[in-house]
């Protein structure tokens, strides 16, 4: 087992003004399951690009694969040595069949001009058989589940003589069950001598699958550790370089009239029998596995896809929420799960994004856009939420994940909402930024607004809420008082439903 497959020594990479990697030593053994973790900007993606040959390291690096040293390591060397990368976007063809997606690169390599569908099917079948997965060969890839698409990408990698499979954030949109299935496949590949390198920042998953974990911070290797020696807390400390306190916050809900009350809310094929109350100053947590209906509930409350039946009351008055405009008018704000797609206009400037929700108030007496008012509003929120931007005119896509999320938050806080729905507010951002976001949320409820915090991370809801509701198959199945239970107990309960 101690056979080294890939060995890298003294890897440096300097981009203009930034030392992305400095004297990195990194090693992967044959058939090993290895995990690479680090915060955003720690150099993970640069390291992967070097391993795949897409980026050349600075002079002085020593790269050895299978005992063979390489001077100038190129993409073609990487492919010949059996290194395959599955990027987050999977690089599949949605309009082609499963079989074609798996076999295409092999068929191209043969140089045949006429396609032989039997051969395509056979290549696909044998790749699937290697990892014991079974997906209909004639299905169009665009029409199968994301988890199956991931398996198709793996099978495609298996059609070549793969020795090391690198997977970038493979679990971000999979349910618990699907993650378990994926890990089963990885274990299967391991038994055939194929090494896997996971790049992830979901720490609990990392510890579940990996044998060894390498931690990167600020372009340097903090260390490589057997996963048995690590736990959540220790890993966080290694990644951030400081001890991050998981501070608990127990919001003080006022006793008065509920701000938001939902009775028997139902939407066919999404959720039903939803009852809850949300008081001023309260943070109510809703958790559950991916596909439990939690996001659908949020979308219904915000009017994106309105509920079929049931009542929504705001400050005791029944309201109809048929559209997003209705929701905003009634003082509901929504921060979506996927800020990249739904929350922000990525190529546009921070200031434009920030005032989008309140643009109708940013006008002068002629109903024209008032630049000075925009400037003032933007400056106020950038200060208040401590958004780090080179300039308010920088495109949002140039900011870090944490700062992007602050812009989304600011955009909605600016509307002066009574109820704020946050769906996965800290997905994909690193630990330190996460805590900053939590601080902002806690500050908001102190001012008397109510927050519905939806997250699949139990620790997140546990740390911030006094009540937590677990959703499963479109129903509220259990409510926890955080003062009377532990995060582990809630997690165990959720896992038992999976």
């Amino acid at each position: 087992m101690a056979d080294v497959f890939l060995s890298m020594k003294n890897v440096n990479k300097r981009y203009v003004g930034v030392q992305a990697l400095s004297s990195v030593d990194f090693e992967i053994e044959k058939g090993e399951i290895h995990c690479l973790v680090g915060e955003n900007g720690s150099g993970k993606s640069t390291l992967i690009k070097i391993i795949s040959g897409a980026v050349e390291p600075d002079d002085g690096a020593e790269i050895e694969i299978d005992g063979k040293p390489f001077q100038h390591f190129q993409a073609i060397d990487s492919i010949h040595k059996g290194i395959e990368v599955i990027y987050q976007d999977l690089s599949l063809f949605p309009n082609l069949t499963v079989a074609e997606n798996i076999a295409l690169s092999q068929v191209i390599a043969t140089g045949n001009r006429i396609i032989n569908y039997k051969e395509v099917q056979n290549i696909a079948k044998s790749a699937m058989a290697r990892v014991e997965v079974d997906i209909p060969l004639d299905a169009l890839v665009g029409e199968i589940a994301i988890a199956d698409q991931q398996l198709v990408a793996i099978c495609r990698a298996l059609t070549s003589d793969v020795q090391l499979l690198i997977m970038d954030e493979p679990t971000s949109s999979l349910t618990k069950k699907e993650i378990d299935a994926l890990f089963g496949v990885v274990k299967d590949m391991q038994s055939k001598g194929i090494a896997t390198l996971f790049v992830s920042h979901k720490l609990n998953e990392v510890l579940q699958i990996a044998e060894r974990v390498t931690v990167l911070r600020d372009g340097k290797v903090v260390g490589t550790f057997p996963s048995s020696e690590l736990d959540d807390e220790k890993l966080t400390m290694l990644m951030t370089g400081k001890k991050v306190e998981y501070s608990l916050y127990r919001p003080q809900a006022s006793d008065g009239q509920a701000l938001l009350e939902v009775r028997r809310l139902a939407k066919r094929g999404n959720f039903k029998a939803i009852d809850f109350e949300l008081k001023p100053g309260e943070i109510l947590g809703i958790t559950g596995l991916l596909g439990s209906g939690r996001t659908e509930l949020a979308l219904a409350l915000f009017g994106v896809s309105p509920a079929d039946s049931g009542e929504i009351l705001l400050s005791g008055r029944p309201v109809k929420i048929r559209s997003v405009q209705d929701a905003i008018r009634h003082g509901i704000g929504y921060v979506p799960e996927d800020r990249l797609v739904e929350g922000l206009v990525m190529p546009q400037a921070v200031q434009r994004n920030l005032v989008l929700t309140v643009l109708s108030q940013m006008v002068n007496q002629f109903r024209l856009i008032d630049r000075r008012r925009i400037q003032a509003t933007v400056n106020q929120w950038v200060d208040e939420l401590a958004i780090k931007v080179p300039s308010v005119d920088s495109p949002v896509q140039t900011l870090s994940g944490g700062n992007q999320q602050r812009v989304v938050l600011a955009k909605w806080i600016a509307t002066n909402p009574k109820v704020l729905i946050l769906d996965g507010p800290t997905i994909g951002i690193d630990v330190a930024a996460k805590h900053a976001i939590h601080e902002i949320i806690r500050g908001l409820v102190k001012q008397g607004i109510a927050i519905l915090l939806i997250s699949d991370e139990v620790q997140e809801v546990y740390n911030n809420c006094n009540r937590i509701i677990v959703m499963h198959k479109g129903l509220f199945i259990k409510e926890f008082e955080t003062t009377q239970t532990s995060a582990e107990a809630i997690q165990d309960f959720i896992n038992s439903t999976g």
Partner: protein, 331 residues
């Protein structure tokens, strides 16, 4: 059965059947072999161009310049014919070569400068038309040789009706069908065809799995150009006069027929069957409205409505499918 209902083609086919029944009920001469053969001849032009447009759309691009290409091709052929003479084979070779060259120009600009295909081909359309108008002075060309007219009258298969008039499947229709078979073979059985689908589905991935995108671009646009050359020849054969402005402005009709047939403007999706049904629908509509003595002004209104309804139905079904995908299993 369920699979059949999920296909766009089934719906167009049903619409065609319904239209045919209505038209026949009003004017029985619609559903005669004579009329159908005639339609197959006069819509060969659109049918051939639609095949080229389908290729371009599947690849994720669009071509607006094909009518200009067709015009240039037939004009040059007509000049060569009237000045130097020649034979029908030579005519086709010249027309197709011009189409291929102009298509390659399109492809090269799109590939090397990564300019969106719509911008590129609008620009080249203007250049091709403009140069032709300047150089030709807008003159019409008459007096094509007798053998040119005779070729257009050839039939691969003839029948005689009750009044003793012969009719049948024109050589022009046969050319269309030959192109169709070639296109079908390319899309279905060659790596080239799968490459076109792959490129339209995900350009970056197509490069990553090893397709040569330059070759694919060159093929797609020069194939379109070649078919435009053939289409130009067909117009010349059908009309027997050649004018620089004969088919100007008909680009969108062809693109509409292909989209009607289920091809996606976003690329990656489209079938030959659908495209041919799209052309058939537009042909039957045009012919049927004439046979029903509807004033020709209404023709455009009907075409517009049919396109709108058909595309809406497809979009609505996709919307429903996407909604179904977020469905949570309720207990």
């Amino acid at each position: 059965m369920k699979k059949l209902l999920a296909r766009h083609e089934t719906y167009i086919f049903l619409v065609i059947v319904i239209f045919s029944i209505v038209i026949t009920a009003i004017n029985p001469s619609f559903l005669t072999l004579e009329n159908l053969f005639d339609l197959l001849k006069s819509y060969s032009f659109m049918g051939i161009l639609a095949i080229g447009v389908l290729f371009v759309l599947i690849s994720g691009g669009i071509d607006i310049s094909f009518m200009a290409t067709a015009t240039v091709a037939m004009y040059v052929v007509a000049i060569v014919l009237t000045r130097f003479g020649g034979n029908i084979l030579l005519c086709f070779v010249i027309a197709m070569s011009i189409g291929i060259v102009l298509g390659m120009i399109n492809a090269s600009i799109i590939y090397f400068f990564s300019i969106p295909s719509i911008i590129t081909t609008i620009a080249t359309m203007n250049i091709y038309y403009g140069l032709l108008t300047v150089l030709s002075g807008g003159k019409w060309i008459y007096g094509l040789p007798a053998w040119f007219r005779e070729f257009a009258e050839l039939r691969v298969f003839s029948l005689t009706n009750a009044e003793g008039i012969t009719y049948g499947i024109s050589i022009i229709t046969a050319i269309w069908f030959a192109v169709l078979v070639l296109a079908w073979f390319i899309l279905r059985y060659t790596m080239l065809g799968r490459g076109i689908y792959a490129m339209g589905g995900n350009l970056a991935s197509a490069r990553r799995v090893g397709f040569n995108l330059l070759h694919l671009h060159l093929f797609v646009y020069s194939f379109m150009g070649m078919l435009a050359g053939i289409a130009g020849m067909i117009i010349a054969l059908l009309v027997q006069t050649v004018a620089p402005n004969q088919i100007v402005g008909k680009e969108l009709d062809v693109i509409a027929a292909v989209v009607l047939g289920g091809a996606s403007l976003a690329g990656g999706i489209g079938t030959l069957l659908g495209t041919m049904l799209g052309v058939a629908l537009i042909a039957i509509l045009g012919n049927g409205l004439t046979l029903m003595h509807v004033p020709s002004f209404w023709y455009n209104v009907f075409i517009g409505l049919v396109i709108l309804i058909s595309v809406s139905v497809t979009a609505y079904r996709r919307l429903k499918r996407e909604k179904r995908m977020v469905t949570v299993e309720l207990e």
